[in-house]
Symmetry: C2
């Protein structure tokens, strides 16, 4: 049986683009049998045609003028894997207006300009697919839009940045410091030369913005997402966590609390017995609770050329199947039809209530703990456990306090007051504890 041919234009040929090219070539027959069409990348846009790349492409496929894919009437589908936000937005808008479907792996693009892009795609009745933007090879967006569609998503916890999870796993297992472990991660290619985007939590927040939109059917104003990175975590914190039965993970969290939606990224202590605690190294996972399905988790490689390309190819096949059926947009990109998507009322982090791990760096003198405890109690914060191993009169030592449920804004005020004490030498470290049912 001869398959109809679907021509694809790909913009970008870096890590992800090379992976996409590789999959479409290695699995050409398999993909035809699954998609019902022969998938052919007929044009690839690159900045320089001479650069060395991990894949070899016929010269006639390469082109450095982005307009050529937009102008090619045979190309029905554009795959955007260049990364840059400004250029991607322009490309996406032009593609939609030219009636072409778009597959993108660009999480920042969607987190910052999603609303505009979804509207434009809908107006032109074309598909916009972006599974690769969240969790690499993990098909979590599809799961939320389709498999879990019968549920209100009460809570969702994601390990969405492999760099952070690798660093925290290594620091915990090898007792190495953050800067040392980061250097190691960079050497292994698990962290960028400029790591702030990853370790600062921004990358995870971009992905969370997309998840919040699909989970709750809302648009998210990105700056309203609370973001805290892992730079302040020490091997001592990980050791204490271990002693209290916890692991520390950078979690991207969203919960529904009446009309309010929580959306926050920060280092979090979770029980060692939880499924998320078993997620080590560069792996990603999303754990969720739906009101009917109960708890669920999807786990896998969150980044890298081939896992991300696998997700892009999943989207290419979806668009191809739709092109063959002469439909688009059967599943709305955010899972909810556009007319019913409102703006998210994001709850300020100050409203959060839960238990905390607090590490005070204090000069070891009699009465310091009493001072700390007194201030905490002034703000209505009650202590569930205290840990102070080292005793060295007159030297700086860490004092660890675990609290019962307390409100963030009270905790922040209490800490500000404590940080002003004469015997406190550095800013206090605060780590939120999540006790999700399991």
């Amino acid at each position: 049986m001869a398959f109809p041919k679907i021509k694809i234009g790909m913009v970008g040929l870096g890590t992800v683009g090379s992976g996409v090219w590789k999959i479409l070539h290695r699995h050409q027959a398999l993909l035809s049998q699954r998609a019902g069409a022969k998938l052919e990348i007929s044009k690839v846009i690159v900045r320089s045609k001479k650069k060395k790349r991990p894949v070899r492409l016929p010269a006639k496929v390469l082109n450095s003028n982005i307009q050529t894919v937009l102008d090619d009437p045979e190309i029905k589908l554009i795959v955007e894997v260049m990364g840059d936000v400004r250029a991607s937005r322009q490309l996406a808008l032009k593609a939609f207006r030219a009636g072409k479907h778009l597959v993108t792996a660009n999480k920042a693009l969607l987190a910052l300009h999603g609303k505009e892009l979804f509207q434009e795609a809908k107006k032109n009745r074309v598909d916009i697919c972006f599974e690769a933007a969240v969790g690499g090879g993990i098909p979590i967006l599809r799961a939320l839009r389709e498999g879990f569609v019968g549920n209100r998503i009460d809570s969702l916890y994601g390990i969405l940045n492999g760099t952070c999870n690798y660093i925290l796993t290594e620091m915990s297992e090898r007792k190495t410091s953050f800067p040392e472990t980061l250097k190691q991660a960079q050497k292994l290619g698990y962290a960028e030369a400029d790591p702030r985007f990853d370790v600062g939590g921004i990358d995870a927040a971009h992905k969370l913005a997309i998840l919040v939109s699909i989970a709750h059917g809302v648009f998210v104003d990105f700056p309203k997402i609370f973001v805290e990175g892992i730079q302040g975590i020490t091997p001592f914190d990980l050791e204490c966590a271990d002693r209290f039965g916890f692991e520390i993970k950078l979690l991207a969290i969203t919960k529904k609390n009446g009309d309010k939606i929580q959306a926050r990224v920060h280092p979090t202590m979770i029980s060692k017995d939880s499924m998320l605690a078993a997620v080590k190294g560069v792996n990603n996972a999303v754990f969720l609770e739906g009101d009917f399905v109960g708890e669920g988790m999807l786990y896998g490689r969150g980044a890298g050329s081939e896992p991300t390309a696998s997700a892009v190819v999943g989207d290419i096949v979806e668009v191809a199947r739709n092109i063959l059926a002469k439909v688009a947009y059967t599943v709305p990109p955010l899972g909810t039809h556009a007319a019913h998507i409102g703006n998210a009322a994001i709850e300020p982090i100050g409203e959060w209530r839960g238990p905390y791990y607090l590490r005070f760096q204090a000069i070891d003198r009699p009465g310091v703990l009493a001072q700390i405890a007194k201030i905490l109690s002034e703000f209505g914060i009650s202590i569930s456990a205290v840990h102070q191993q080292v005793r060295e009169e007159g030297r700086e030592v860490p004092i660890v306090v675990l609290t019962h449920d307390a409100q963030e804004k009270s905790v922040v005020k209490a800490i500000a007051k404590i940080n002003r004490l004469k015997n406190i030498r550095r800013a206090t470290t605060l780590i939120r504890i999540e006790e999700f049912c399991q």
Copy 2:
């Protein structure tokens, strides 16, 4: 905005059916906004209209004549949740011929009659959806057909029966015997009055048949799947597993080995560090390795009214979205287009090679271990570890041997010869060990 209405006929109102009714009612508005249509169950077929049920339905909805849903021209979609294989097959074929789409949770139906049903559905251009048949609320079938579509699935390991996983978890944690734990599971409603279907591995094998078909794009001759249940596992085996760094799980496994496909269900020892080992109690999970995506896992509730109903509702929404777009069959039900689905060449279990855990029940006399070791070596089986804790001259004691990779048919022959030794009092227990990369 007024939504178009899609009328549904549901056949069966037991555990799953009640859950479906509940979701469609509690989430009527949410589902309309997500599906783009108002979903209404206009007829429910039950055997007795007077039976007490967990949900209250208007009397006019209930009907005991199955033909009424088939004859109702307004009903475009039939949800089959009655369970019985014969009746379901008849219903499915009649539904397809009447041009109606079908959603079913019936794994036995698909494992035994899938080929016939898929052909008939295709002929009539209607959808057949069955996400709830495998892994309850876990959207694994969709993930294989869509998200992972760019991969050759090299291996897949499923914990697909909550009853077995509950029993093994309890036996391991509480050191209780199989019969005692089974009784407890029955009391809690985690096991049926006739538990053979679950603990014997048949239920998991039905689900595996479906997974094999989608993962590899093949039809499976169900009797060719090797099935072994958990009835022979003792607390002693679990204790030994623990000592060697393993957990015992009932796994449904499929691997691609050139043109041959492995498809087998049996108790399996896996490393405690693996993600599957973290799956406790009644939960299910599917772990897989794709050639591009690498490792992935989906985890969640594998059974129960609401998780299973959540999966059924996911399928209902899929069909509804297709009805609105006036398409069907855009994603083939087995992920591969029918013309390219062949029959699976299932590798006989005798061809399997791997390490084994062997427990011999021997009379403790000098030389017994030597006899066992000699026979194993005759068959080319080499020992990696031996464990014999109790020494009680003249009494029956367990002798545990771990082997290096060995071939199943040699192991079976060696065991048969060993079982004939004068000092061996019972059939030897054999548990396969899977060392999947992680």
